[in-house]
Each structure stands twice: as C-alpha cells, then as structure tokens.
Subunit: 187 residues, 2 copies
C-alpha cells in the first residue's frame, strides 16, 4: 500500500528511500468498513486522508435534510473537509465509505512539520492543492454552464472507473441532476 503514496509523490518530486520512510513516519494507517464515517458534520476534523484502496464520498446535508455530494475519492486521491481541517473548525461535511477503505492519514501539525523538515514535500502539497483548485474551478464552470447530459458525459469521461462502483442516486446528486434525468441519460 505504501507504493501508492510513493508513486504519487514520485510524479512530482523525487525522494530517496530514507526520505520516503521519513515522510511515511508522519502518517498513520486507517482501515474502514463500508458505511463507516471518517468525518462527521459539526465535529472536529483532525486529519487529511490519502486513499490507498476503496471508495469514499464527502457530502453536505442542508437545512431541509437533503444530501449534496461534493466529492468522491478513490485510490490515489486526498480527501478531508478542507475548511474544517485547515482552519481548525468543525466539519460542514460528512465523509463516509462507499466500499471498505484504507487510508494514510496525517494531522495538520504533522503535515506542517513534514513540510518544514523536507521542503520537497511542501512543493508536493502545493502542486496537489493547485490541481485540486483547478478541478474545483472546472466543476463550478460545469455546474454553471453545462446541461445535465453534458455533465453526465463529462463525468463518464473523467471517471470511467467510477460509473460502475457508485449508485446512480449518488452520481445524480454529485452532478446536481435528478435521478430520473440520470436514468434517461444512462440508458
């Protein structure tokens, strides 16, 4: 499982074996069952998670009790409630497991310590945060400018592996379209 993290970091900065072991020593390993929550709305957010296997989703429950999917996270993805984690506030999001999952997770203190000790890792996290930013901007433009069909086609193109692992209701919620519209599009 360590290979997944090493490979991702290796795409951005090159680390010696010793340096990678040093990086790893700042993380803990978590194993979670399907349906288990790793972050809950209104609770503290002590960790950011790097997914090694399985599938998770982050979602927001609005005042009327309706769920809105913000993100799915599979192997090689980072997930947390960013606002809660980085600003040390309680979560506005929930994150739970759609499949049994395993993650490397790290506290903000350990992440900052790691970056101060090994500048390459600060560069790495800046690159990942930048990529996240680009993905979020594209998501906003997509929500604003694309119709249901275009959003669904874009999702299939970006995440071909996810289509068969995620219930249609959740994909519809992620895309901001109705379950009925999605059924029509996916047949």
């Amino acid at each position: 499982m360590e290979a997944v993290l090493r490979q991702q970091i290796g795409k951005i900065v090159s680390l010696s074996d010793d340096e990678f072991q040093f990086v790893l020593s700042h993380f803990l390993v978590g194993n979670y069952k399907k349906h288990q929550y790793i972050i809950q709305q209104e609770n503290p957010v002590p960790y950011v998670h790097f997914v090694v296997k399985g599938l998770l989703k982050s979602f927001y429950i609005d005042k009327s009790g309706k769920k809105h999917i913000l993100q799915f996270a599979m192997k090689d993805w980072w997930i947390t409630d960013n606002q809660g984690f980085y600003n040390k506030q309680n979560a506005t999001l929930n994150i739970d497991c759609l499949e049994d999952a395993q993650t490397f997770y790290i506290t903000l203190e350990n992440r900052e310590k790691l970056c101060a000790e090994l500048q390459k890792m600060e560069f790495f996290f800046l690159q990942k945060m930048t990529a996240g930013n680009i993905a979020l901007q594209n998501r906003i433009l997509s929500l604003m400018s694309k119709n249901s069909e275009e959003r669904y086609m874009q999702f299939i193109q970006l995440y071909p592996d996810l289509i068969h692992r995620i219930p249609k209701t959740l994909i519809a919620s992620y895309l901001g379209i109705s379950r009925e519209t999605l059924s029509r599009l996916s047949h």
Copy 2:
C-alpha cells in the same frame, strides 16, 4: 501599493525588509484601464496577478455564447486562469477590468524560483491556495444547496463592498440566477 502585498504576506509569514524587496523583485507592475483584458480565452496565461487596486472579473463564454462569471477580484486578491497558468495551457477563461486596475504579476518560473529561494514564500502560497480551495468548495456547496435568495444574501454578507461596484447583471451571472430574480431580491 507595495504595502498591500507586504501586509497580505505578513499575515502568514514574517519577512524582513530585505526579504520583502527580494520577493518584490520577482514581480512586475501592470496598469490596466476599465474594459481592458488581461487574459483571453484560447490564449496563453503567462501570469498570476495580485490586485493592488481596482476590480476585475473572470468569466467563461460557453458554446452558445453565454457568459458565466467565475470570480471577481478586488484589492488584496489573486487572480488568473489557474488551469492555463499552472498547467501551461491556453486559457479557458477571460479576465477583464470592471474598473481601472493595478496589479503585481509574476510568471510561474519566477514564482517557483522565489519559492525555492525563500521557503517562507512556498508556505505562503500553499496557505493562499488552500484558502482558495476552501472558498471554491463553499461556492460549489452554495450552488448545489442554496436557493437564489440564500445565495444573494450570502454574497452580500461575504462581499458587502462589491454590491455597489458591480452591475446587477454580473452579480446575477456569478450567482447563477436570472437578472429578474436578482432585481426582485435586491429591492
């Protein structure tokens, strides 16, 4: 005008006078007139801009010719087409001036050089990118879960200064609501 940048950096990391002059030497100063474009769709994106004065907007023109506002940027904000700038691709966005504007701008090469030379600046940019990420996530949740009135009230609360500087049509586009709905809400 240098004070604006120094103050923002100073909120996150502390720089000596010499260090700040060193930071500044990586930037150039740009002056722009109202309606002038600083980034155009389908063109390269050589710079990220820090706004010292004035007001800019970034927007996307979809296939049907409709404009969608992604962001406004006033004094103390950073703005560029992130995908174009960081991935060295042509812009998907346009950025133009709603008021005469002045910016400090920097190339990606200079930003990376600066971060390598002065690690505090890498930490600074990571914090700013993280804050941007949080704002974008909240924007997505707002687009998905809030109705027109809630979005308008949130905008007023977040950006009380902007309401009177931006034409209603553009605020409506930013919020993803119709001009008529906005007129009803703002009276």
